[in-house]
Symmetry: D2
Subunit: 146 residues, 4 copies
């Protein structure tokens, strides 16, 4: 699987996500897409702030979910039907009030499930503020399996 | 622990949460508080909708986190410093475009960690749309441990 | 789903598991089977002991997995092919050197996945020593879907 | 933290673990220890086999737990008191009947909790058979915090 090529470029994925979930990418920038992985940046926004000046937990969960979904779309192509079936997240350090960058790695794209890991960093930091893993259920009627 | 009494009533918890996180309870109604558990309703709001007419994943994660935090506050009292350290969630069924009710159960309030489970139902349903478990780190300088 | 009846009794499940996984039930006793749930006891055995006189973590994970699988088999019948795809466990309290009882609840048996929760108690205790959730991948070629 | 040096070498960790948990390392070989990470091999043993010729789930969970504990001990030194508080694992592919190698990465060693990720490969494979994350509770009376 890591030898496969990506089917969609970063701009193609952004365009597709904005088509199927209007507004979904307003806060996200796809910085890199590679076979079985992606780097996605969540732009800082005052509305995410929690008291104490930190990025909220739900924002980090959304970043994890979106970041790994980008990696999945890059591999399987224009396929809006995959749905998140499981997400777990560990909050490691209070994120600074700035952008957060998610490095995502897919470990498996199976017939029914895709599974991957996400490590999140406040922009410019080398130690992560959160880690997550996410599972997606892939629709069985997909036309063009990888 | 289940024999202990709650220290705060539902209105006291709502008031306290609105003090420390202004707006936090705008979407939530505490329906019941009991020793080591609570029932919390998330009011339906068009802004949570995902394409397809379902409540979004991040909304359900926020409900799980808030619902169990309510149960924790009821037991430990006015203590804003506990922070979520881990959350995992399984999305079981597509939630209907309506309120979602979380039944939360605390299994442990230790010196450092509190852990509990959450089962979520679309209003009026008997089968859950999601399950979650959440861990909170409890500050070590707490004055009045349970 | 909770209205459905179980397809297999406790003795039938024990017999079936011993057929497909010889020895699998040597340490386990099915105490109760009901629609979408089961209670399974893990018999204490010196070999599970960790230094300090506690039941080992891997033993509790095996109990969670087996206990929920019993509940699944009761619903779907003689079906050896379901495999565990995800397990998460929180260790809450040091278990005493005695039997451990798992109360298991299935939340969903879907076409592809089954998901449930497990609460584990040292025999005679009312506060749990561990909680777990488990997901099973159900083979798509199953003859007789529930 | 990644800049710190390890306090114990692989042979020192093996010796220490065999002291505090006699027999614990019979099945494990520490292949590499580095700041905030380790590679640990689980030797294949017929007794781990499941019907179908695969390494059992509980064996993989034990490998994840042991592998990350090795990385933690390398950083904090001879400290037997850390206990696993949470483990989650995704089973990705049926492992071959051979050794399994765990690549472990610590993301945080805090005052109370340490958290890390584990990717497991059947010996010689480039795609993982399982991923896990593990949290350890660190005793508060530790003499020499990192």
């Amino acid at each position: 699987m890591p030898d496969e090529q990506v089917r969609l470029t970063a701009p193609e994925i952004t365009e597709f996500l904005n088509e199927v979930f209007p507004g979904a990418m307003d806060r996200f920038v796809i910085e890199d897409v590679r076979p079985m992985g992606a780097r996605v940046r969540m732009k800082f926004n005052e509305s995410q702030l929690r008291p104490g000046g930190t990025v909220s937990g739900p924002s980090l969960m959304t970043l994890a979910d979106t970041g790994l979904w980008v990696a999945l779309l890059a591999m399987i192509g224009r396929e809006p039907l995959s749905v998140t079936s499981h997400l777990d997240i560990d909050f490691l350090r209070k994120p600074a009030p700035t952008d957060v960058v998610a490095e995502t790695t897919l470990h498996k794209i199976g017939k029914r499930l895709a599974v991957g890991d996400v490590i999140m960093y406040s922009a410019g930091e080398t130690v992560p503020c959160a880690r997550a893993s996410v599972t997606y259920a892939i629709p069985s009627n997909r036309m063009d399996p990888p």
